[in-house]
Symmetry: C2
Subunit: 141 residues, 2 copies
């Protein structure tokens, strides 16, 4: 930073994942993980509220193009291949999620503790994105 | 959700972007945006603290592989193409960022207000990821 820099942005307001099957994404993020849908535009995106952050899920085949019906000059973006997102959860919640995710057909593929004792579990969304739940203390101190 | 579901995860703990040039990513995210580096593993990743969230920046050519020296069973992931992340900022901060980003060689490519009056600005990181700053009220109410 230089002296004329504004303060660093205080928070992540939106995080993004890409899924080519948005209906499957909604069935997973709303139906299994329990997030509320904020906006749904079939064929283009579905957005979810995750606490103070919005999770944006785009079909990258649409988001890489400038929509002919776009009302605002939103720049294009869109990635292919498995992304990653980590959600905050407690140890007890993760134990319950291990069972619930297996029942929902998204079995946990990794479950371990980091050197500071914080637990993480990893699983996949319907598009193969690597999702993690971790205790907040993973990044504290 | 079914009756046996745990509560939805309360927050995004980590958001992810991919950059093939991690040194350029660090020069931008730490040197221009001002985020503190939490972990740096040359050739693989650099992580930044953004308020209560950790921004993970991976070289996808490394993160899609299971590292032979990995001490923990972290599943592989990695995407190609421009991703998206939105950071919280105030209107006045964005006005200052428009000047600072231009000076740093990352000119703002879009600057407008949404129907509820919230302002967004868009720019690119060194790998072409689409970054946004937006007022928190974009997603309130």
């Amino acid at each position: 930073m230089t002296d004329d820099s504004p303060p660093p942005p205080a928070a992540v307001l939106e995080a993004t994942l890409y899924c080519q099957d948005l209906a499957a994404a909604e069935a997973f993020y709303a139906g299994v993980l329990g997030f509320d849908v904020v906006i749904r535009k079939p064929g283009r995106h579905v957005f979810f509220r995750v606490g103070a952050t919005i999770l944006l899920v785009f079909d990258p085949r649409a988001s890489v193009q400038i929509s002919p019906e776009a009302m605002f000059p939103v720049p294009p973006h869109g990635a292919e291949g498995p992304g990653h997102l980590c959600l905050a959860a407690t140890d007890d919640e993760m134990t319950a999620w291990v069972a619930r995710l297996a029942e929902a057909g998204h079995p946990v593929e990794s479950d371990f503790r980091w050197p500071n004792g914080a637990r993480s579990i990893y699983f996949r969304d319907p598009s193969g994105n690597s999702l993690e739940m971790a205790e907040r203390r993973l990044w504290e101190g």
